[in-house]
Symmetry: C2
Amino acid sequence: MKVWLALVHHPVVDRQGEVITTAVTNLDVHDIARSARTYDLAGYFIVTPIEAQRLLVERILSHWRDGAGARRVPERSEALGRVTIVSSLEEAAAHVEAAAGESPLTVVTSARVSRATTGYRALTAELETRPGLLVFGTGHGLAGSVMAAADRVLAPIQPGASYNHLSVRAAVAITLDRLFGHFD
Amino acid sequence: MKVWLALVHHPVVDRQGEVITTAVTNLDVHDIARSARTYDLAGYFIVTPIEAQRLLVERILSHWRDGAGARRVPERSEALGRVTIVSSLEEAAAHVEAAAGESPLTVVTSARVSRATTGYRALTAELETRPGLLVFGTGHGLAGSVMAAADRVLAPIQPGASYNHLSVRAAVAITLDRLFGHFD
């Protein structure tokens, strides 16, 4: 499958809607890598403009890919093998274009609807015809500039719910299952 | 909806299949509480026989329910309001019976199939007729004794996948969405 995922730490917004840069958390690296590998995505980009954070993630990855972690928990090594750290969403898209031979359909996700959205089944069908980059925001969600520039806005997970504050780890898992999971 | 969720820290198994007790992690408390609240479950039990761990979780909960956390992040307070710490799965089932007026259908989950399993759509229909307790294991999964004693074993999430090591946080989110989510 030619679908990639990006977890964005900038530009995202805080509770007040101000554009911020969030810190990379170790658990987002692991949990989302495992979900992405389970649904056989081609790759998972961690996006942060902060060089010190990129170096930190590289150190975590090297522990699990080649170090003591890889020997102790080989399936973790396998999941983290598809993780790439980049400094911007544009860099992630360039990686996808280099790997897939064409620019990806960029798909943003949000708990709040702003533009016309695409349903899950329609997106699954569209992703069979061209490579895709699924973009998730940390903090209180992707900045308006990222939302506006995307090719598609995926429908919110529970638009009518009285409570709509899933963790990004849960939102990624549910989204991948809706797009690529099968069950009775 | 009369459905509860339990996250079990004992009895579960380790990589070698030995029965162990895992440590409660702060993130499992938060992430799963948010997922349970999003899908409007009646409650979320954290099961551990270790008293010091129960006290630790109570302290985390009180920070977010009544303390500084509740003022700063009110939606977190709302999710954690449905969390109860218990010492055993039997105690969780007794709580459900007291609240619902009848004993719950106990449903276990596993990445590995051992007995005949129930599909998601069939379970959704059954849970409309009686209260349910969805049971998830930490570590490498629920002990055989818990699996054997349950009323139903839910089908694994990705039975045919080449990689099947979702985090319990992701597995809970996907399971709740398959049972109670709606999307196009």
